[in-house]
Symmetry: none
Subunit: 194 residues, 4 copies
DNA sequence: GATGAATGAGCTTTCATTCAT
DNA sequence: AATGAATGAAAGCTCATTCAT
């Protein structure tokens, strides 16, 4: 990676954190620049607008999450075990690098105006969605999961996990996310199994 | 209802539509006033700030959705059938009055800054959450649903439905929401049944 | 005129002066607002962008100049005398309300980017050009002026006068504009007479 | 010419084109550098500021136009014919190398702030003005042109031609510039002849 | 209750210029 | 000579909110 690429990524990470915790509109470009110790003008040498930056972040995040799931997909274990692994890693991320999951939930999902142009459909989240699709297709192929519409399964899996993280973020959950892993994995497996 | 209360509700409904379709920050108070043919100043006689208005909307929406679910709860049918009824009404709403569901997904879920003060936890959505809780407790009581942590069940149910509506809104779903009703009801029932 | 219309016109006049003397790009919206003792935001209630303001100014200026020439056109005097009257009034304006002529020369003529959209061709200066056209057509009709392409005559008349005012503005002219009136009127008449 | 002088001139020509077609303020130093395939920093090794560059361009342009007129001045033809030659070459330039005439009209004439310091009066356009002066003095000397204030004549000549090119640039002229040559030459001659 | 002109802080973005390499 | 990342002041514009009428 060149120096410029490194800086680019450091901007993405700083902006990701700020957008996630303070909201997209409440985070200003000067906020991001200041958190990096760089000037506003220079930040614009790397991303030509705030919206472009937001889109690059969702691509980046989707890629990172996708890679984590790919690692699970490559394990030689049952679909039931994979479900648990994925739930675990999702919650682990939500606890350790909450900015990524939060970005999905609080920035990407709810600022259509920003992502409409350039991130239509799943363009910017394909890195992540593709891996879920692979997980599901494998499970069906191996006879472990019921053969149903992919989106029925995808919505269940991701809506569920996202919902739980949201509830956690709202301080609604009485227990730690970790403690829900078994219940949730079981529920998902029961819903999807053949 | 007094005249004042009627006007209050008409403001809520106008703002609900605009916030849902154009986003919270992209909708200005003058936009709302204009859509109602009233003056900005007068609107402030009904709601003392934009944030307060946003909070009143979520309470209103939660109440309306809660009532719909209450009607299902009162039917003398199995939990399995209730699940289907709830999925149906949720999707029907998403199609006929999409602004309510969209408000949940795109405004309430992602503008913590706004709802933090006054809508902590489930304060502003209790109308809705309570009914889901009643549905679940009944099912457990009647031995139809497995006795698990309520939030495990709630996250599944609502995360799933919200996720599907989101996917629909992004034009990602290949079929109409209606056509997913059976699959989804089955998945939810499989996950929750005892 | 309503209060709002009066204020609108006072903004036009203030901006006209500042744009003319300091240049379009060197004059900021806050400059204009401050010179009027009003807020920036309020100025935008009257003109929705700096460019729109610039276009309204040229229309206004064209109208005012056009009215002055119309008065000459209505006099019952020879074309030769009309030429002199027009030169006189043009120079009088250049001395007493220099901002109008200067706006033509220094803002309108040289900021194509601004006027391209909405002031194509002579859309925004027709008030003025029309009167010159009437002057010329009358002169031809009465046999006093040679029948030639209108723009050949227009370019002569207006290019000449504009050029002189420009030279004056650059402090190049050794004498006052007034002292050129006879020479210039004669030159124009010689060029246009039949 | 040294290599450095060559590069200097290539910068002048590139900037001349961009300033003329896009406007002085809409053309950035990076734009100019990019159009030359050189770096911003290096451009500053040749001209220490944007304003200095603008002033060098007007001197250069004035010199080139002046040389063209000098060639006409040296011909052994009547003043009437010289007028026609000058109109022809002015319009030829306006068509073939429009950037020079446009620079006069759209950059030099209307950015006093820029040229005030260093190009007062006719300092930066003397190359051109001097030749017009020579043309005029010769004509007077030979008894072909009326002896009048030089600026009365200069304003006529140059205001007229500039005005026509401006009208052409605005797409207002119904015919090609060429087709106006005879009319315009005649008008100028009639105005100036003794 | 009703109006809408007025406020002004705050936003995103631009760009002439510098300077370490 | 040459590079181009970096600076930061300054611009145009927005909008929640107020208040005189």
């Amino acid at each position: 990676m060149t120096k410029k690429e490194l800086k680019r990524e450091s901007i993405i990470q700083a902006a990701l954190k700020l957008f996630s915790s303070n909201g997209f509109h409440k985070t200003t470009i000067p906020d991001i620049a200041k958190s990096l110790g760089m000037s506003v003008g220079n930040l614009y040498n790397y991303f030509k607008s705030k919206d472009v930056l937001a889109k690059e972040i969702i691509k980046y995040t989707s890629e990172v999450l996708g890679q984590e799931i790919r690692a699970v997909n490559m394990l030689d274990i049952s679909s039931k075990d994979k479900i648990k692994k994925i739930v675990e890693l999702y919650f682990k991320m939500a606890q350790e690098k909450p900015e990524m999951i939060e970005y999905f939930l609080r920035v990407y999902l709810s600022h259509r105006e920003v992502f409409n142009d350039g991130c239509e459909g799943m363009i910017c989240v394909s890195g992540f969605v593709t891996e879920i699709m692979i997980f599901f297709d494998n499970g069906v192929e191996r006879g472990e999961l019921r053969d149903q519409d992919f989106f029925s399964a995808f919505g269940l899996f991701m809506g569920y996990l996202g919902g739980m993280v949201f509830l956690k973020g709202e301080n609604i959950l009485p227990k730690e996310l970790n403690e829900y892993i078994d219940d949730i994995s079981e529920n998902i497996y029961n819903a999807l199994k053949s």
